[in-house]
């Protein structure tokens, strides 16, 4: 099933390539069909996934090729599998893509055929990244997922697309090269590229080697996330990308970075990660505040949403490197949350852009009186992004902050200001866009959303509510795999504390005699 999921989009891309150039309707239909089928597979996979099993499930394994090495050649496998760390992201990718295809109707009107090919190719790449259980294979898919975005940005982007594309490309290449060094080094020294085996074997490596490989991975993934201060490519890429590109970028591609940090940073090198945790927690926390301030200063609505990503992903990074159970679970759910709420916001920004062809706040105001349905969805997405309880964002943010508080009260206190500043810039954006009197005449006759536009947002809205009200349904799937990491980290922590001979860093609730705690 995993093989089918991964390669069906590729098959779709090939089929679309075979269609005649002008048959746009057919191309759109084919793209939709294939993404829907993959979404169906993704949901089936999700439903059948056993959350209590920490190991990779649905394994597919074929010998692929082998690399020369000492003392014996290193076999590289085509190995796919899904575990608690990847299941939510796989499902998110699968569910998001049909909606992305649906959204293209509004803004992709030239070279539709090519666009669909790249989009489907990208899906193969992204699913491959999350499903790979072999490091070399992972790297292959990682690179594969970048090429399509590069074209989507460069061909269908906005006015400054060349600048944005170049920047994106250079950054990405730099990150990938660094990561490649790590991949090669690791595979070669341990004589295997199987991720499960590697995860078990890294502890044998000398500390310095671990640290260097961790650094190369962490840097590569940090650029992707992006972690402060590597974030400047993001605002440009988002601003210039077509709506659908932005949605995929925010919804899935950035998650490849946080996913990598979790699986290959914390999962493979818990010892180094523990030492680096204060740095990353700090970068995450500062990123939260920095991103919020950055967003607050924007006059371009799409750029504002892009900057908000820096802030939101700051939460994820902070939670990951808190390396506590609450922090990790919160971060994994927050990856999905960010995909949903920022995806929604990008869709909404795109919809208004398609009508007015401007992203400048000054050109808007009072939209709510002419587009009430639009206003409803925008406010909903804003609230989900602001982290209102009962919607998805709250669960993630609260758990991340709680997990961070256990590891470092200081950074939790810095991070919690994001709760305030997030409200500041998002409410400001909402007010400038939707409220007040209509000052620009062109806004008076704006058409409200049509059925397609509403329809493609409904699944996201429902997911936001679902995660907000029943987060356990989603977190239970991730539980066992994360607990496995947490257990390893906790053992390391304890060993360190013993070595230092000091009191436990992690506080335990006070012992209470005769009081029953639920």
């Amino acid at each position: 099933m995993l093989t089918a999921m991964t390669f069906l989009p590729l098959v779709g891309a090939i089929l679309i390539a075979l269609t005649p150039g002008g048959a746009e309707a057919l191309q759109r239909m084919l793209a939709l069909l294939f993404t829907v089928v993959v979404a169906g597979l993704g949901i089936t996979l999700y439903l059948g996934f056993d959350g209590s099993n920490p190991a990779a499930q649905q394994l597919v394994e074929h010998a692929w090729f082998s690399l020369p090495g000492t003392p014996h050649d290193i076999p590289v496998y085509f190995k796919l599998g899904v575990d608690g760390i990847s299941i939510l992201l796989v499902a998110l990718t699968a569910v998001l893509m049909p909606l992305v295809v649906l959204s293209t109707k509004g803004h992709i009107n030239k070279r539709v055929k090519e666009f669909m090919i790249w989009l489907l190719l990208m899906e193969t790449g992204m699913l491959g990244v999350f499903l790979s259980m072999d490091l070399i294979l992972f790297y292959f898919f990682w690179e594969l997922s970048l090429i399509p975005l590069y074209f989507i940005l460069g061909i269908w982007g906005g006015e400054r697309r060349i600048y944005a594309t170049t920047k994106f490309f250079l950054y990405t290449v730099a990150g990938s090269l660094l990561m490649m060094l790590g991949v090669i080094w690791l595979t070669w020294t341990l004589g295997t590229s199987d991720i499960t085996e590697l995860t078990g074997a890294t502890a044998q490596l000398p500390g310095a080697t671990q640290a260097w490989i961790f650094a190369s991975f962490a840097l590569g993934f940090s650029i992707k996330v992006p972690v402060l201060p590597f974030h400047t490519w993001l605002a440009d890429a988002h601003t210039e990308a077509p709506t659908s590109g932005s949605v995929v970028l925010a919804g899935v591609l950035l998650k490849m970075g946080t996913y990598g940090l979790l699986r290959f940073g914390i999962g493979m090198f818990p010892e180094v990660a523990l030492s680096a945790a204060p740095l990353f927690m700090g970068l995450g926390a500062i990123g939260i505040v920095y991103g919020a301030f950055l967003a607050w200063a924007q006059t371009d609505i799409k750029r504002l949403v892009a900057c908000s990503s820096v802030s939101h992903l700051g939460f994820v990074v902070m939670g990951l490197f808190a390396m506590t159970q609450e922090g990790l679970r919160g971060s994994v759910i927050q990856m999905v949350n960010h995909g949903l709420s920022t995806g929604l916001l990008f869709l909404l920004v795109g919809m208004i852009y398609e009508r007015r062809h401007t992203r400048d706040f000054e050109q808007y105001g009072g939209i709510a009186s002419v587009m009430p349905i639009y206003a409803f969805f925008f406010v909903f997405a804003m609230l989900s992004s602001v982290g209102l309880p009962f919607l998805n964002g709250f669960v993630g943010e609260y758990l991340i902050l709680l997990g961070t508080f256990k590891a470092s009260p200081l950074w939790a206190c810095v991070g919690v200001t994001g709760v305030i500043f997030g409200a500041v810039y998002l409410l400001m954006a909402t007010r400038k866009l939707l409220f007040g009197p209509i000052t620009v005449a062109a806004n008076r006759k704006l058409q409200d959303l049509n059925g397609r536009e509403v329809g493609l947002m409904i699944p996201l809205v429902l997911l936001c509510l679902w995660i907000g009200v029943r987060p356990n349904y989603f977190m239970d799937k991730t539980g066992a795999s994360i607990d496995q990491i947490v257990e390893r980290v906790d053992n390391l922590r304890e060993a360190r504390i013993e070595a230092m001979g000091s009191v436990p860093v992690l506080p335990t609730p006070v012992e209470l005699d005769g009081v029953k705690l639920r």
Binding site: P68, T70, I155, A297, L399, F405
Partner: protein, 661 residues
């Protein structure tokens, strides 16, 4: 004890009502677009919204009766739990709990809420967002009930944020005008400052108790205090939660949003910004009274903040010309009283004042709404006058509310205010200082209340009688006024002072909830007043209320002249009072603008020039080194393939050399 799962319906019904009204709103919109009649739809929305509050009101009565049938120690009804969040080591289970405290809040929220809903069916008539208004109002009631009923602090936070959201939506209800939207934004953001404190406070509680279940926390406090080493953390947690309460309940310095919140429709001001939402901070403290009782220093701090708030807001109310502005500052000031009661450990008195205040302040707001309605949206009292002749029913009920607010003897406000002051007096020490401020504020309250009455209803008409024809409001609006007036006048019977030969119904009813806090704070020696002292305080309260009411009324019953006299006497001070002591402008100048500046500095100097500059700089360097790269960005597939092939070759080379080594 069997689970009372029907309790879930209490918040669920208004929530369903909100969804229904929201759907009806979109129906009215499409009806309007197609030119169809929409009055049937709006009527349905009004009915639905009222029913969605009326049924929970009946349920609340039912819950109250059930509690009454139990022995005091067993007075708890609990529903089955909803396992909201569970990470393994941290779990949030929320159940709906009705105990004596929440039963009172339930009745206030649904009872006063229902009256305000009925009033709003008349007040909002003809508004294009009629159904939407009721959707928000229902949603508010649902969130408020969640806040009140939740067994878990984080469950309470759902309601806490939910009411904040509704407040934001309803303040900005007339968003086309611009400034209401800004006021709503300000309310939300200011509240969020408190919420951030609330969140950190909850983390400390998790750290201390391993749970956020409020009854478990309360039960565990004594054991924690015996240990002693963690009492500072407990103090910190309580302080942070009080920070949250400051945001919601408009205490210094976070009260700045409440005067602006008057931009919303008047029923909203009555329901959210007087009777219910703004009191949730008081409710939080009483709910967690053992946590707050654990630190006397903290209680004193709360008292100082509360006294300062009461005084600052009270004096600001003196100089407001906007009818709703007076009521807004008055609300802030009265909330200060409630916290003053909490500071003295008078939990029951604070709740008592919360309830009487809900009656008379909702009444005054609705009365003000009726006036504004009759005056064609005029809010400036200097342009009113003589309205008692035009709006007799509004006038009479408004008098009842004013009398209760100013604390005229035997009305509800008299008893509840007196109790709070007496408790501070009885504690002695620094609380005596708080008492003095409280008494001074009582005098100010009486004065501004009757100034308001005089300016609005007495003297000559200061408006163009040929253009504005004030008229009495319809009975959907006046009937709630009459009911609230009766409650405002008679509400005192629930809490008669101990010196009189009646039982203090409130204190007795709340005793099971407040006992743990009392035990921690006072042990066995609860401060006590002699009968003589009590009579003296009652007499003093009566004298102050009567004297200053008289003064205020006489200064303004003939017109607005006294305002001009005051303004002329000391212009600077008067302007400062009108501006609410300049705290709001201070916020803008010292907090908002610097932060705004920081954001621009970050965006332009740090981000664009420094970080991005470094990035682009290195890129340009690279570009200069290899101009070939440019050809890549032309978008040719073959080129890219070439590069990929080259990359693969390099990779392979490295590999082979590595293998060879």
């Amino acid at each position: 004890m069997p689970y009372e799962n029907w309790l879930w319906w209490i918040p669920a019904l208004p929530f369903i009502g909100a969804i229904g009204c929201g759907a009806l709103h979109f129906v009215t919109l499409s009806a309007r677009r197609q030119g169809r009649e929409e009055s049937a739809v709006t009527r349905a929305a009004a009915m639905l919204a009222c029913a969605a509050v009326a049924i929970p009101f009946i349920f609340s009565l039912q819950a109250f009766n059930k509690l009454k049938g139990l022995s005091p120690a067993e007075r708890v009804l609990e529903s089955g739990a909803w396992d909201w969040i569970d990470t393994g080591s941290f779990a949030i289970d929320v159940s709906m709990v009705v105990d004596p405290l929440s039963s009172i809040m339930l009745l206030v929220v649904t009872g006063v809420g229902l009256l305000i809903h009925i009033y709003a069916t008349g007040y909002m008539k003809g508004d294009p967002g009629y159904a939407k208004f009721f959707a928000y109002l229902n949603l508010f009631v649902a969130a408020m009930l969640m806040l009140v009923l939740s067994s878990n602090l984080l469950g309470m936070f759902i309601g806490w944020e939910g009411v904040g959201l509704c407040s934001y939506l309803l303040i900005g209800f007339w968003f086309e005008k611009g400034w209401p939207a800004e006021a709503g934004q300000k309310a939300f953001v200011t509240n969020r400052i408190g919420d951030a404190c609330f969140i950190i406070g909850s983390f400390l509680l998790v750290r201390l108790f391993g749970t956020l279940d409020m009854s478990d926390i309360g039960a565990a406090v004594p054991a924690l205090l015996e240990d002693g080493s963690r009492s500072f953390q407990l103090f910190l947690a309580a302080l942070l939660l009080f920070g949250g309460a400051c945001g919601k309940s408009a205490q210094l310095p976070l009260f700045v949003w409440l005067p602006d919140a008057m931009a919303g429709p008047t029923p909203v001001s009555a329901l959210i910004h007087a009777a219910t939402m703004v009191t949730s901070g008081v409710y939080l403290v009483v709910r967690l009274n053992p946590v707050f009782a654990a630190s006397e220093g903290l209680l004193l701090f709360i008292g100082i903040i509360a006294a300062a708030t009461a005084l600052i807001a009270g004096t600001s109310a003196l100089a407001q010309r906007d009818l709703k502005g007076v009521l807004a500052y008055s609300t802030v000031s009265q909330l200060g009283y409630m916290f003053l009661g909490l500071a003295a450990g008078a939990w029951a008195s604070a709740i008592f004042h919360l309830v009487t205040h809900a009656f008379f302040k909702a009444l005054l707001f609705l009365g003000a709404g009726s006036v504004i309605h009759g005056m064609h949206e005029e809010q400036d009292m200097h342009k009113m006058g003589g309205l008692r002749r035009h709006m007799p029913r509004t006038y009479i009920t408004f008098l009842a509310g004013a009398a209760a607010l100013s604390g005229l003897p035997v009305l509800s406000g008299y008893f509840s205010k007196d109790e709070i002051l007496a408790m501070n007096f009885a504690q002695g020490g620094l609380h005596l200082g708080l008492w003095v401020v409280g008494v001074a504020t009582a005098a100010i309250t009486a004065f501004y209340t009757w100034r308001m009455v005089g300016l609005t209803f007495f003297g000559d008409e200061r408006f163009d009688t040929s253009k504005v024809h004030p008229h009495e409001s319809p009975s959907t609006m006046t009937i709630p006024l009459v009911i609230l007036a009766l409650l405002a006048v008679g509400g005192g019977v629930f809490g008669l002072p101990p010196v009189l030969p009646f039982t203090h119904i409130f204190e007795q009813w709340l005793a099971p909830v407040t006992a743990p806090g009392d035990a921690i704070l006072f042990g066995d020696n609860r401060p006590h007043l002699s009968h003589a002292a009590e009579w003296a305080l009652l007499a003093l309260g009566a004298f102050i209320a009567l004297f200053f009411s008289h003064k205020g009324f006489h200064a303004y019953k003939h017109g607005k002249k006294f305002d001009e006299v005051l303004a002329a006497k000391n212009e600077a001070i008067y302007a400062k009072l009108q501006d609410g002591w300049g705290i709001d402008s201070g916020f803008k100048l010292w907090l908002l603008q610097p932060l705004r500046l920081v954001s621009f500095v970050i965006a332009v100097i740090v981000d664009q020039f420094t970080i991005d500059g470094a990035v682009n700089g290195s890129a340009n360097l690279a570009k200069a080194c290899g101009s070939k790269l440019r050809s890549l960005t032309d978008g040719g597939v073959s080129n890219y393939g070439l590069w990929m092939g080259a990359g693969a070759t390099v990779l392979a080379l490295i590999w082979i050399s590595g293998g060879a080594a």
